[in-house]
């Protein structure tokens, strides 16, 4: 079954030895990782650790979308960007580090904004999407587009000392809209002064999303489907809420009212 596909070099066997040793990953799982295609949305606080861990794990093709350039204020948490990258496109900075960790992988930098007009075409090339943007319009857009295209994805959010993540397999599990319905009113979204984040929180949540991605690809364990995982790092409390698909969900319900994608109004600054 995997006979013809085993062509790892000696170096790759060493590189991936800790995966291959896992009973739930093994040679077969590593082959799946090598042939997988994952799209990371946002090369920021969440996207940075996701990019580094997926590259290290040997995910064969990784697309990464972001339209920003590296600024000094990013460096407190966006660990794939270095001081000497200030002014550089984030996707290019991320690509350099990913290839430096693992030259075997292919990285596709996409320096652009994701909008209703281009998202479906972009995500269609991938097996799994990791949503790590900094705003609700993008989170809802990604949810709706992935549901429409039936592409599984992980969606995450962080704020101050808190983080949350869920994994969605369209058609099978509750989507982001099942849990949150609509973006919050723009004036309720925390303003910049209230919207700090402890740098390591981005790493905690990003690595949860990276782990979900690797689990999805290899089939190991059970995913955060129909589940919202939240944590409060001040007390290191982790909490899971069980979710279920909502019959009246506007995108994945019985009679979806959303037929075409729309761009919600962008609010406040990125968190």
């Amino acid at each position: 079954m995997v006979k013809k596909m085993i062509d790892f070099t000696e170096e790759q066997l060493e590189r991936y030895s800790r995966h291959i040793l896992l009973a739930d990953v093994g040679v077969e799982g590593q082959i799946r990782l090598s042939s997988a295609r994952v799209l990371i949305i946002g090369a920021g606080g969440l996207g940075a650790p996701v990019a580094l861990y997926l590259a290290a794990a040997g995910v064969g093709t990784i697309g990464i979308v972001d339209n920003d350039i590296v600024e000094v204020s990013n460096l407190q948490r966006q660990v794939c960007h270095f001081h000497n990258n200030i002014g550089k496109a984030k996707v290019e900075s991320a690509r350099e580090k990913m290839k430096a960790i693992n030259p075997d992988i292919t990285v596709i930098p996409l320096e652009k904004y994701l909008v209703a007009d281009n998202i479906r075409e972009i995500i269609r090339d991938y097996d799994f999407v990791v949503e790590g943007s900094d705003n609700f319009p993008t989170k809802f857009l990604v949810n709706d587009a992935c549901v429409m295209e039936s592409i599984p994805f992980s969606i995450g959010g962080i704020l101050r000392f808190d983080g949350q993540a869920m994994t969605i397999v369209p058609g099978e599990s509750a989507c982001y809209r099942c849990a949150f319905r609509n973006p919050p009113p723009p004036d309720a979204v925390p303003s910049c002064s209230e919207a700090g984040v402890l740098g390591a929180i981005a790493g905690m949540l990003g690595t949860i999303q990276a782990a979900e991605t690797l689990k999805f690809i290899t089939g190991a364990g059970s995913l955060l489907t129909d589940t919202l995982l939240s944590f409060d790092a001040k007390n290191m409390d982790f909490h899971k809420v069980r979710l279920q698909r909502q019959d009246d969900c506007a995108i994945c319900g019985k009679e979806p009212s959303i037929r075409t994608l729309v761009d919600y109004e962008q609010t406040t600054c990125g968190i």
Partner: protein, 69 residues
């Protein structure tokens, strides 16, 4: 009556309670930034005042977190 909120047991001296009141009692700072699930059903935000919680309801607050950069 008895309500479970995010897995914790709460007692109330009333037989029904609107979601808006529970949000106040629970000191939720920004009710617009919370999605409320009652017995597995996510309630439309416009219906919080009209949705009455009953004895033994299981309520979950799902907080909006938009950050990621």
């Amino acid at each position: 009556m008895h309500i479970t909120v995010n897995g914790e047991n709460k007692e109330f001296d009333t037989s029904s309670l609107p979601i808006t009141t529970l949000l106040e009692v629970a000191k939720v700072e920004s009710p617009d930034m919370v999605s409320v699930q009652v017995n597995g059903k996510v309630i439309d935000r416009t219906l919080y005042a009209d949705t009455l919680l009953r004895d033994n309801d299981e309520v979950d607050f799902l907080y909006f977190m938009g950050g990621g950069a």
